[in-house]
Each structure stands twice: as C-alpha cells, then as structure tokens.
C-alpha cells in the first residue's frame, strides 16, 4: 500500500527512491528492507498494478522506474479504504478502553 501510495504521489520512481521516500516521510519509523521491497515489486508487476521501464537516473545510471497503472490505482483505493476502516475500528477500541 505504501509503495502504491508513494508511486501515486510522486509518479514513476526506482526501487531505491521508493524505499528512501517511505523512510523519510515516515520520519525513519518505517524501514523498507530490500528483502521485502523487491519481491513485493515483482508481485505487483505480475498482478499488473505497476509497470516497470528502464530510464537514466539523475546521475546517469540505468534504473528501473515503476509507474502506477489504472489497476494499481484501483487497488490502492481498495487498500486505503480497507486500511482506514481498520484504523477507525482500532481507534474506537482504544477510546472505549480509555
């Protein structure tokens, strides 16, 4: 979900960039292990949620940029709504506790 959201917000990015962005925006709370990231990206490629294409990076290296597809956007919406439902539920549980 975070990967999809990142791509939705910033447009096409390469793997390292995605990891960097998530770590920075989360204030280094969420660390993205490459061991999780790349299998996840491959899975999303297979599912058709993202597309990959090779481009030059800023410092002139070849890297694969991932771009969200319409299917990916739909999936993001689904996951976001699911996530906020769960968050709301957790919130209610915590409040009733207090």
């Amino acid at each position: 979900m975070l990967v999809l959201k990142t791509l939705a917000r910033l447009g096409p990015m390469h793997g390292y960039g995605i990891a960097q962005h998530i770590e920075e925006t989360s204030g280094d709370v969420l660390r993205v292990e490459e061991g999780t990231l790349y299998p996840a990206l491959q899975r999303m490629l297979i599912k058709g949620w993202v597309l990959g294409e090779w481009r030059q990076t800023e410092n002139n290296r070849r890297a694969r940029y991932y771009r969200l597809t319409p299917a990916g956007r739909k999936q993001l919406a689904r996951e976001l709504s699911g996530f906020s439902r769960v968050m709301a539920a957790i919130g209610r549980v915590i409040e009733s506790e207090a």
Binding site: G15, A19, Y38, P39, W54
Partner: protein, 857 residues
Amino acid sequence: MPLWDEWARRWNAFRRREQLTAELEEEIALHIEQRGAARTGRAAVLVESSREAWGFTALDHLLRDLRFGLRGLVRQPGFTLLASGTLAIAIGAGTAIFSLIDAVLLRPLPFRDPAALVYLYEDHARTGFPRGDFSPGNFRAWREGNTTLEGIGAYYQMTANFTGDAEPERLDGQIISPGLFPLLGVQPAIGRLFTPDEETPGRDGVVILSHGLWQRRFGGDASLIGRKVLMSGRPRTVVGVMPRRWQFVDGNTEFWVPLALEERSYSRFSNRYLHAVGRLKPGVTLEAANQDLRAIAQRLEREHPRENEDLQPVLTSLRDQLTHQVRPSYLALLGGVACLFLIACANTSHLVLTRTMRRGGELAVRASLGAGAGRLIRQLLTENLMLASIAGAAGLLIAQAGFVLLRKLIPGGLSHSTELALDYRVFGFLATSTLAAALLSGWWPAWRSARSGLRARLAAHSARTTRSASVVLIGLETAMALVLLTGAGLLIQSFFHLRSVDPGVRPAGVLTMLTALNPDSITFERRNQFYDAVLERVQALPGVESAAYMSAIPLMWKGGTSGFEIEGRGPARPGQEALHRQVTPAYFQTLGIPILRGRGLADSDSAGAEPVVVVNQTLARHFFPGEEALGQRIRTSEGHWMRIAGIVADVREMGLAVPPKAIFYVSPRQVKAMFSAPSWLAVRVHGDPAAMTSAVRRQILAVAPQQTISNIRPLPDVIGAEWETRELYTRLLTAFAAVALLLACLGIYGVTAYSVAQRTKEFGIRLALGSPPAHIVKSVCLSVLRPATVGAATGAAGAVALSRLAQSLLFGVPPSNHGVLGGAALLMLAAALAACYWPSRQVFTLDPIAALRRDGD
C-alpha cells in the same frame, strides 16, 4: 479477465526469465550500492526471493534439476547404466507379467455383460474329473428346473471332415444349443444364428462357419449362405458366418452346428459329455444360483440313484472356468517379479545413496548457500526419476520382447480374443511402476543425504547412517532372493519329477497321426476293412516295425469312460468305471506297453469269437483286489460279457501328473458301437519317425483317396507337450531367481566395497596397531553376513508360507522341502560371502601408512 492477464504475465516472465533475472540483479546491485551497505551473497538471495513472485519457480527449478541431473548421469555412465539397467529388468519383467495378467484375468470377456456368465459342471473328483461333464438327462433337469438363470445352453466339441467343395479337411467345431448364442450377445457377420426350432432332430441340418473358415475354404463368398456343404458325409445348409476372430471357450473352433438331442438321449443319465454356459438373472448371486441347482440335484439323486449318487453340480463364473488352471501360475510369476522389483529398488537405492554421499561436498555447499532440505530432496528425487525413466523406456523394450514368450501362456479358450500389447493399461502400469521405482529407490538416499548435507556433513555421522541403511538393504535383498530361489528350486524339482514320470509307453521312434473316419468307412465292416488295409500296407513299408489303430494316442483324449459290471457281483457300483479304448492287436507292441500276464489282443479275436478284453494293472488291482482278474468277465451297459484275457502295464492316459486310471482295451472287431472307434494311427519305425511321414501318408491315401490326415506328430512331442508349459513357467521363475541372486550379490558387493573404501583410514590405524588383516576382513564380512543371515531366515519363513499357497504348482514335491530350502539358503549365503569377501580382500594388501595419509573420504 484480470486473472487471465496475470497468468499471461507470469508465463511471459517465465519465458523471459533469463533477461528478467539479469535486470533484477542489476537493479538490486544498484540499490545496494546506493545504500552503501554491501554484503556478499545478499544480492543473490534477494534475486532468488524476488523471482519467487513470478510463480514459476517450481517449474524453473525442475528444469534446472533436470539439466543438472542429466549432466550428472552422463558424467557417470557406469553408475547410470548399472542403476537404470537394474531397474529396467525389474520394470520390464513386471510390465510383461502384468500385461499377461491383465489380458487373461482382468479384462472383461468378449461377450455381453460377461460378469453374469456362468459355467456349469458336475464335480466328479472321485473318479478323476473334478470339473466333470454331465448327461443330457441332467442337463434337461438343470435347464428346466432352475429359477435363477436367464438361460443356459449346452455344448461339446466335435470334429467333422469337410469334403466335396475342396480338399478333404478335418476341422474342429462345436455342437451347441441354439439358445446359447443370444445368451452370449453375439450377432453373426452375415446370415443368421440358429433358430430355437433347429434344436429339433431332423431340422438341425444347418451350420454356422467361423470367419476364418469362410475366408480360407470358401473365399469369403457371401452367396455361400443358403448353400449346402458336406460334413462327414452329411449335407448341412450354411446359415451364417460369425464375426472375425469370434470364438467361444475354445480357440480353434471352425464351425458350429445345433445341439439336437433325441428324446431318447434326454432319458439317459449315464453318458456324461455336455458342458454348459448360462447367464444369471439380474440381481441373482452365484451362491443363490448354486443353491437353486443343489435343490434340483437332490431330486435327481432320488430319481436316478445309480447314475447320480452324490451329485454335486457347481456353477462358477465363466472367467473362472477359463482361467482357473493358470491363475496360480500367474500369481507365482507376479510374486516373482514383485520380489525382483524390490531387490532392484533396494540395489538402486544403495547405488544412489553411495553416489550422493560422494557428492556430499557439493550438497553441503548448496545447503550452506541456502538451499532448503526440501529443495535438495526434490533435486535428488528428480535425478532418480530421470534414472527410472530411462529404465522405464528400456523396460518397455524388455516387456515387448517378453510378450513373444508369454503369449504361449495364455489359456487356449482366450488365445483368440486377447492379445498382449502395449495398450494404455499396460502403459499406465509401466508408468506407475517407473514412478514407484523412482520413489522407492530414491526417497531414502535423498532424505538421508539432504539431512546430513544440512548438518555440515560430519563424515563419521554419514558413514554410520549409511551402514545402518545397508544392514536393512542387505537383509531385504537376501530375504527376497531366497524366496525366489526356493520357489524356483521347488519348480525345478517338480519339473524333473514330472519328466522322470514313466508315461507307460516307449515313445521314441513312434509316429502318430489322426485319420478321422470317412463317411465311407464309418460302418462296422467298412472301418475294420480300412484298418486292416492301412495297417497291412504300412507294416509292409521298409523300416516299419509295427503299426496299430487306436481310439486315441495316450494323453490326447483325457476322457471316454464307461461304467462296467463284473460277472457275479450285480449291477455296476458308482465309480466302477474305466477308460474305454478300442485298439488293434499290435497296439501294445507298437507303443511299447508290456503285457504282464495273459495275452494281448489277437487277430483271432474277431466278431465270431468269444469277446475278450485286456485290462491294465490299475483296473485289476482296484476292482479285483487279492483275486485273479484273468478269466473273469465284465461288461459295459451296452455290451456283452467280455473275458479278461490279459493284464498290461499302466499308461498315464489322463496326464503325466495324474495317477494312472483304470483302462480296458477291446478290439474294434468285437465292438459294434461307434463310440471310441479307432481313428488314430501309431507307427513304430527304425530311425527317425518324422522321415516316414510321407511314405505312411501315401499308403493311407492308396487305401482311401478322400481320407483326411492330420495331427502328424512323433509320440515324444505328444508327451513333451505335457510339460511344455510347466517348463516355460519353471524357466521364467528360474530366470527371475537367477537375476535376483545376481542383483543381491551386486548389492552386497556394492555395500561392502563402499564401506571398505570409507573405513580405509580406520583399517589403516587398526593395522598399524597390530591387528591382523584377517581379523579386519572377518569383521567386515560378518557385518554383512549377519544381516544376510537374518534376511535369509526371514526369507525362508516367507518361502515356506508362500510355497504352501502355491502347492497346486508343485508335483511330487512337498512344499516345505528341506532339501530345496536348505540348498537355496546355502547358495544364497555362499554367494553373499563371496560378494562381501571379494571387495574386503583388499585389506590384505592395504599399506597402513598410505591409508593413514589418505584424506578421510
């Protein structure tokens, strides 16, 4: 369809996996570089786990395993050849035997709803006919009295001389109740079947031809229907032709004529010559039908106590009737290949284990690189599957070669309708046994080496587990091989017993042939003139010692009994019967049957003279115990009193394995009845009997130009046919046993050689410490012989149990034969000793220093 697209992308990823992997590697390398935390090996794991997402890893791994395995197998051709060769023999033999069992015991018979077809017999085991025939009188009672059968029809075999339209020819056929064909659910190829009406005497002048006869003799001419053919002098109208290859119960039937019995015949209960096949009504069990018949039997016993004493009708499935004689032999063969299969798997298992242990280093590296135990096992099993597949392919060829041999073991009643072929069932069996072989011989080494591979492979550890495995393998192989050796030993002994049985005749130098009586020579006077003329001419041939006419060559007609009465003792008691043979005077001389007392038959025993009979020893001993049989008088139900003029030695008319039965011989000049009128000619010659064939033929044709002459065979061949099939079974099982022994020895050799190689260093230390090499050799041999002995003991117990089950296959040998069992056990253990001594011998020449320097394997 998103799912569809997903699979398409997966497939795409799989097809382009090399490129995609390279891309992944590049991508991840860049990532790690940017991160600045470079750890070796990390990248490879990352690539590997990311690839899993494509979902084709299993297939991908399989392909890699296959390629890898193939390279390994090619690199070690010796191993590949030995392992797959061993499995190929087992799989091939197993497949061949299965195809035989499938064809004969499993496939449905080629009739409508064959499971409901039943065969009816009367149990006359008391008089030597456990599946005996029955009389027309009883048949009518069975047919009309039962309430459990949809229908039942009788039949018996006959022969007829076809003349007129082409060369005279003697052909086998069946006389059959018209109602039997519809019961079997058959339609003729052309024409029609019999009508119920044609069961009436006088309206039965019709015949149905086999497809083969129609093609061969009548050129497949459809206009033959409605025309008449001359059969043994009687014209019959051809009404139909059966479908190609269609046969019923007997594989050589060329024609069918309706069974039309006179009312007179139905009132007779002593002539037993009918067989019958019926169909159970839907929902009726065999047991219920049998009960039904037993109730009728009780009535028949009451009404005809003399002919039907202790009457025991039995219904059995038609398949049982056709196959009961071969079933035990088939099961023995099946047991044999099963043993062979297990031995082959055990052997291959050990071969594979040794090989993988040698590759321990490679496996350990792979394990430390992160290959899981499951992954390693999968790879090793894949390799084994390849090995087994090679074996399966070779086994296919072996099986096909075996068909030629096994075809001879199909019982005659099925030989026309079934074939040994590589159909889908046999192929399925082959595939299953190949897979089983791969798993059986592979799982243990795979599991073992994968585990020891993960444990960083401590040499001592793996050596110990290998050894304990070897103990099991050696025990198993010895046990299986011993079972086979014992079985083969018992069969071989039975075979030689059978061969050493004195048939009661001196077969060497005797030529036999059938000259089925012509319609012209069928009357009493005519046929005697024919015998006299032929015998006179044949006896005049140079090189001919003597010649005789007879009802049947011994072993060619296992039946033809007559009840008889002894003068002064009242009517014939049940079981007071004997084989009834008409023979011309030179019979005893020609076949070499010694006359023990009195005289043989003479030319003077003619129609006008006092009727005489010659009996065999069994008849004299059995019916005149402690009495003088010579001079007594006996008579059959139809005949006149005949004086016993001589006693001759016994002949095994009913089969070599069957004790001699009572026989009486009469001269054709003193018997008016057609029953058992001689039609077989035997000629004793100096030199090769086969060389006389054409000369004898010419003399017969000079007497009767239209005479058919068939079944020309030297007498030794006739007797040899008695043990032909048994010889084949014996050879097959002996071959299995020999292969099993060889494989077991190879296995023991391999286990010992491997263990010696592994323990070289240990032996070096022991030698250096002053242990005599003989001690070491002894300990190595003992470590092999101990499990072998345990295996042999287990095998011996198994062999005793199994051979008791297979008792019906043995002849003159008790199943728990200590000689055979002990001999087999000795042979097995001696072979085991040789097989373990040979490789351990090298300890004698082992140089302790060199051994110690060697790096532990």
